[in-house]
């Protein structure tokens, strides 16, 4: 139920931003590109992914059903992987229908097909990795509490900070020399969006996900409830 609403809201807002609201509308933009999609989606993901993940472990703790899972022949990693992949699948389902926009812009281009396909593919890969990172944050936030609202709030804050917090911090005068923006998701997201899949960016995202899931594993293993 949460999933249907989340996917529905994501597609609705995306549609409004891309085709209706004049400030970000592709039709008013004048160039055949999906730039507005890829600049808006991270901010939507920031709110919608925590909504999907907030329930995953917090609810199990609150209802006690975690005991049901944890006394079956399953390792903590299997439980976490199950939760993570399930949430990630919902994110993919939200993202998939937007492929139709690629076809729309492709057809609307003058001449037809005048769109930078390489950049679009790169941006989708980047958006998927960004979604995967936010999902890892969300699963982590859900493991630290049995209150879904707290899990949601923490996940939104961490996602926002991981996405653009380091960029903003690096603007502080005293921190300008430390290349702080390299720690942020945005830097790597932009890099992949240019259509060049650099292994450094890939390793960044994979380590990011691994770190949050490992902390989650440690928290679950502690069984402090």
């Amino acid at each position: 139920m949460v999933a249907y609403i989340t996917i529905g809201v994501f597609l609705l807002v995306m549609g409004l931003f891309l085709w209706v609201f004049p400030d970000s509308s592709i039709l008013d933009y004048g160039y055949s590109g999906l730039d507005s999609l890829f600049s808006t989606a991270p901010y939507l993901f920031m709110f919608l992914i925590p909504a999907v993940t907030m329930r995953s472990l917090a609810e199990e703790r609150k209802e006690g059903t975690f005991e049901l899972l944890a006394t079956r022949p399953l390792t903590d990693w299997q439980i976490i992987a199950g939760k993570y992949l399930a949430c990630l699948l919902i994110v993919l389902f939200a993202l998939a229908p937007t492929l139709i926009y690629y076809y729309t812009v492709y057809t609307l281009g003058n001449p037809v097909g005048n769109i930078d396909t390489g950049a679009v593919i790169g941006s989708y890969i980047g958006l998927f990795l960004l979604g995967s990172s936010f999902t890892a944050i969300g699963i982590f936030a859900s493991s630290i509490t049995n209150n879904q609202i707290i899990a949601f709030t923490v996940a939104v804050f961490l996602s926002f900070f991981a996405f653009s917090g380091f960029d903003s911090l690096s603007g502080l005068l005293s921190l300008q020399n430390y290349a702080l923006q390299d720690f942020g998701i945005n830097e790597h997201y932009q890099s992949i969006s240019r259509g060049v899949l650099d292994t450094r960016d890939l390793i960044y995202f994979l380590s990011f996900i691994a770190v949050f899931l490992t902390i989650t594993k440690t928290i679950l293993g502690g069984r402090k409830w």
């Binding site: 209802e63 006690g64 059903t65 975690f66 005991e67 049901l68 944890a70 006394t71 079956r72 022949p73 399953l74 390792t75 069984r223």
Partner: protein, 238 residues
């Protein structure tokens, strides 16, 4: 010896939930695990099922250590927690299929039909768990505990919330299962101990105060009912 516990201790902060308890149980016996609220019964069961680790001491189930061989222990144990947590939005069969899938049971449909029959879930099996009464939810929990035909059953107050007719049926089922399996069950109903248990362990404030066969314990306290013995041992009025 299918369950063996050696000086098991669990601390919650500074509070000792269980204090160096030692006992063992045999296959084919139903052991009643008795004690007042907060005595440490549920804590012991949670340690035996690998849900929480002990502070010191050791415990083995079917020869497997509960900490280092937790996965093997969980494969061989069926556990019904006291709170009987359930996914309320699942259908009865769906939830049983999920558990069967976790245990990778061959021919799950046949096994699910068997446990539905055994636990008397037949009339309610098409409903969602959230729509069931407490007694039927308890049966779903029991069905989940026995679905993989475990060698050891750990049942934390399995008959709470059942009506008198259901009680008879479930006790009968526990007796039948107890012929071949090792069963530990906790309860506050003393007639139940008389009805189903072979052995009795009484625990008070984290310590074992009596551990014997039901017959033996009655011999020891001649003429007293199990209820009088329990009150005597655990209220300090003996």
């Amino acid at each position: 010896m299918s369950i063996s516990v050696q000086s098991l201790t669990k601390l919650y902060g500074k509070q000792k939930a269980i204090d160096a308890i030692t006992f063992s149980t045999q296959p084919g016996k139903v052991t009643g695990f008795l004690g007042p609220n907060g005595a440490g019964k549920s804590t012991t069961m949670k340690i035996l099922t690998g849900f929480i680790p002990q502070t010191t001491g050791s415990a083995t189930v079917c020869g497997f250590d509960v900490v280092s061989q937790s996965q093997e222990v969980r494969r061989n144990v069926g556990y019904l927690p006291e709170t009987n947590p359930q996914y309320l939005e699942m259908y009865v069969k769906e939830s049983l299929a999920f558990i069967a899938d976790v245990h990778q049971i061959h021919n799950p449909a046949k096994r699910i039909a068997e446990v539905i029959e055994q636990t008397g879930l037949g009339p309610e099996h098409h409903k969602k768990i959230g729509q069931l009464s407490k007694g039927y939810r308890q049966r779903v929990g029991l069905a989940q505990a026995i679905i993989h035909d475990p060698k050891v059953l750990i049942l934390d107050e399995p008959t709470s919330g059942l009506d008198p007719n259901q009680l008879v049926g479930i006790r009968q089922l526990i007796r039948e299962l107890g012929q071949t399996k090792t069963i530990i069950l906790s309860t506050h109903i003393m007639q139940e101990v008389d009805a189903v248990c072979d052995d009795v362990i009484i625990i008070n404030q984290g310590k074992i105060v009596a551990s014997d066969s039901l017959h033996g314990i009655k011999e020891q306290y001649k003429g007293k009912s199990i209820e009088q013995i329990f009150i005597g041992l655990t209220s300090g009025l003996a």
